[in-house]
Symmetry: C2
């Protein structure tokens, strides 16, 4: 096992990477892989391999792997399926550390020839004990060393962060990454498992468990070959890293499609969900919820209890959030008398001074607002804070007004927010508060409330 | 009734607007209202009223309403609550067409003085038959004449479109508008009902029924004074305009807060939902779903049946969408033999050629892709199309490749999509396809699937 982990570490942190099937032709994936490798900021050696000698992205290719005089830690393979066995044998001869096999056309195609090829290359890799990510994968990204070993150069735009995105679907991994770019969520790794020749969820999770840059494992699952093994492993892992899973294939047609797609048993969705729950791992039901939850897990402490305080600059969003909180198992905290007294001192006698609190009347008074927020934060009966603020021109200073109390509090209890304005008004301030660890922000009150509820559920599950 | 509609039309389409309480001081709402009025593109007369004579946004104020020599169609009132009765009397004397009363501090405050003031100004307005939007409202926006009679100048950034946003909460209206800006959704009107002195949902809905620029009524509701009246009216309206409602206050605390906020009975949430259903109107459960559904209603025909074809450029998103479709009452269409033959001719023998279809292998061939899509569109067993495409560098040309088939089809059946790429790659092309009416696009497959399912449910409900 130790040996395997070392090999995976070498695969993700290579000093020299060969691109076998590198190409100058934009209609070939070998072109896009070279673009990813050369434009993503990777500082190691990039070794294009192509029998023809024309320069590719400014690099002169080697006609074969053997022609390169030094060690290759990672070989990215993008040649046609039929050529893969020979390339694998060359990799064995060259003693490459690991392979990312982008090529498709193995077990997933109807033609039994695909399965035969799959078995053939698996035998070669296993015999030489070479870890292979893929086949039929977009590849892997490591934010730490800016390695973009994929056919999508734009993955390099994702901000580095604590979330490892591990996906059984390339489409979903792309989707999650594009959403992460839009929402400013940071990833440590992006990993496409593809058809899992000899590296599956268990091996990747073991590797990520030891990866210091990863705090959250965000998993997209369709079907698993050895569910029990994964569940047992998740039960161990969830004490050291936070884990959130999105499993599709719950519908009849979705399940069938998933079986065809991944070549694995998908099977009864409810059984999977029960197993995740048993393992103490949170399962969610959309890519949006998956990313929202992973973001909260990466940036917030877990609440110690279900009692939430909702502080809203406007009543409506507070009411919408209250609905979500109560329906997802959070409770609206009953403020202690001292807290209520502080709130009453900061707000005029409007009705919404109990939880949810309508902070609207305190907009213009940063001091009052800060005192109010601070007293709620310090209330021992409050386990988490939902902070909701819609821009309305006259309140343009409110985010600056809350900055000090938020940053000095530094999320001793989780602060989950929905602070929203038209583009260009609060973007920088909110991003800055997120980066300082003062809060985690969402575009709607309901998504913020659900993220906080999921943090609580994750803690509850984790105690099993 | 006719008379009342004419008055509301005059209020929304004024030739001269007075701002009573106009101010040069950014800490006053009267400043922000003046900014909205003068910077939003409104072409009528703007008449600031303020006892002091200094210029406000380049306009010399009148010391009183009476000092203005011509007719005032709309008076926006932003003076302190105690002064409102006098201002109302002045409005009556001046025969203003309608009032937007932004000032708060009436029925919604605990002090019985608030209720007394409320009753007093209501008597004045009702006696003179002057329609009043508010009190305690942010105001109204009319995209057609660029009237921004609110304290939020940024509302003017919302694209004109077919959706009328009618909200009982200012915070939610701001939120919906900011989301609309982000997602490129167009509004015809933005209306904050506030505490509904004499203009409530029924009056506004009657007005919007006759508003040619409005095709969709998007309602945010907390509590209603006369639910039966509204329901009966919705039953009539839903034959002429599409309607979608988001009602909060389903939780105990949310319901209490809603009662305090709007001063109306909120009451049993399930009863409301049942009533909307009876009226044949779709109710949703988040601001995101509200806006997503309104957007689809504005830009798509309703499907004639529940049979959906899922065409996805990658398998995973297709599986995720399949799950959502089946759980929300859509069925995956069984393709006719001719359709299946066309699909098989366009795709290699991979497994996902039945519904959901994985179009991945046809990425590079715009002709094959178009033929495939066209054959599915024309299949009489297909009622709606979900088109899912994640960018992956090598498929950068795929949106251009689908353009012709999408635009020439022109949504004879609804085409709902999730086409997603990093910023700056497909934005313009997708926006263009939306503007041409070729599709309606969402950031995730699940949201696209839910929007299509809601279109179908809306049709089903509408047939009652």
């Amino acid at each position: 096992m130790e040996e395997k982990l070392k090999k995976l570490k070498r695969l993700f942190e290579p000093e020299a990477v060969a691109v076998i099937g590198a190409s100058r032709d934009p209609s070939k994936l070998g072109y896009h892989v070279m673009k990813s490798m050369t434009t993503g900021g990777y500082r190691g050696s990039i070794v294009p391999v192509n029998p023809r000698g024309d320069e590719i992205f400014g690099l002169r290719p080697f006609t074969s792997l053997m022609a390169f005089p030094r060690t290759i830690d990672l070989a990215i393979v993008v040649v046609p399926a039929a050529r893969v066995p020979d390339v694998f044998r060359e990799c064995v001869g060259k003693k490459v550390g690991g392979i990312v096999l982008i090529t498709a056309g193995f077990k997933e195609i109807e033609d039994p020839g695909g399965t035969r090829l799959h078995d053939e290359i698996k035998a070669i890799a296993d015999e030489a004990d070479i870890p292979v990510i893929g086949p039929n994968t977009f590849g892997i990204v490591n934010a730490t060393n800016r390695l973009n070993a994929t056919f999508t150069p734009e993955f390099s735009r994702v901000t580095p962060g604590g979330i490892a995105c591990v996906s059984q679907s390339g489409g979903i991994a792309h989707l999650l990454s594009f959403l992460a770019m839009r929402e400013g969520v940071g990833f440590s790794k992006i990993i496409g498992l593809g058809n899992r020749l000899n590296i599956d969820f268990p091996e990747i999770l073991d590797y990520l468990l030891g990866d210091k840059t990863t705090s959250v494992l965000m998993l997209y699952v369709e079907g698993i070959d050895e569910p029990r093994k994964l569940i047992a492993q998740l039960r161990r892992i969830k004490n050291e890293k936070r884990v959130v899973v999105y499993k599709t294939g719950k519908s009849h047609k979705g399940d069938q499609a998933s079986l065809s797609h991944t070549g694995s048993m998908a099977g009864n969705h409810e059984v999977y969900l029960g197993a995740f729950r048993q393992a103490g791992v949170l399962a969610v039901s959309s890519v949006e919820e998956l990313l929202d939850t992973a973001k909260a897990m990466d940036r917030c402490p877990l609440p110690k209890g279900p009692r939430v305080a909702i502080l809203s600059a406007q009543a409506g969003p507070g009411i919408a959030a209250t609905d979500v909180c109560e329906s997802l198992g959070l409770e609206l905290a009953q403020f202690q008398p001292g807290t209520q007294k502080s709130i009453n001192a900061c707000l005029p006698p409007l009705a919404l001074r109990t939880n949810p609190v309508d902070m609207g009347p305190a907009w213009y008074n940063a001091d009052a607002l800060s005192r109010l927020i601070r007293s709620v934060m310090e209330d021992p009966g409050v386990d988490g804070i939902l902070l909701l603020t819609m821009f309305a021109s006259a309140n343009v200073g409110i985010v600056e007004g809350m900055r000090e109390v938020l940053t000095s509090w530094n999320q001793r209890k989780p602060v989950v927010s929905s602070i929203l304005a038209p583009e260009g008004i609060w973007d920088t301030q909110v991003r800055d508060l997120e980066e300082k660890g003062a809060l985690v922000n969402y575009p709607t009150p309901e998504r913020a409330a659900r993220a906080l509820a999921n943090l609580w559920e994750s803690r509850e599950l984790g105690r099993r």
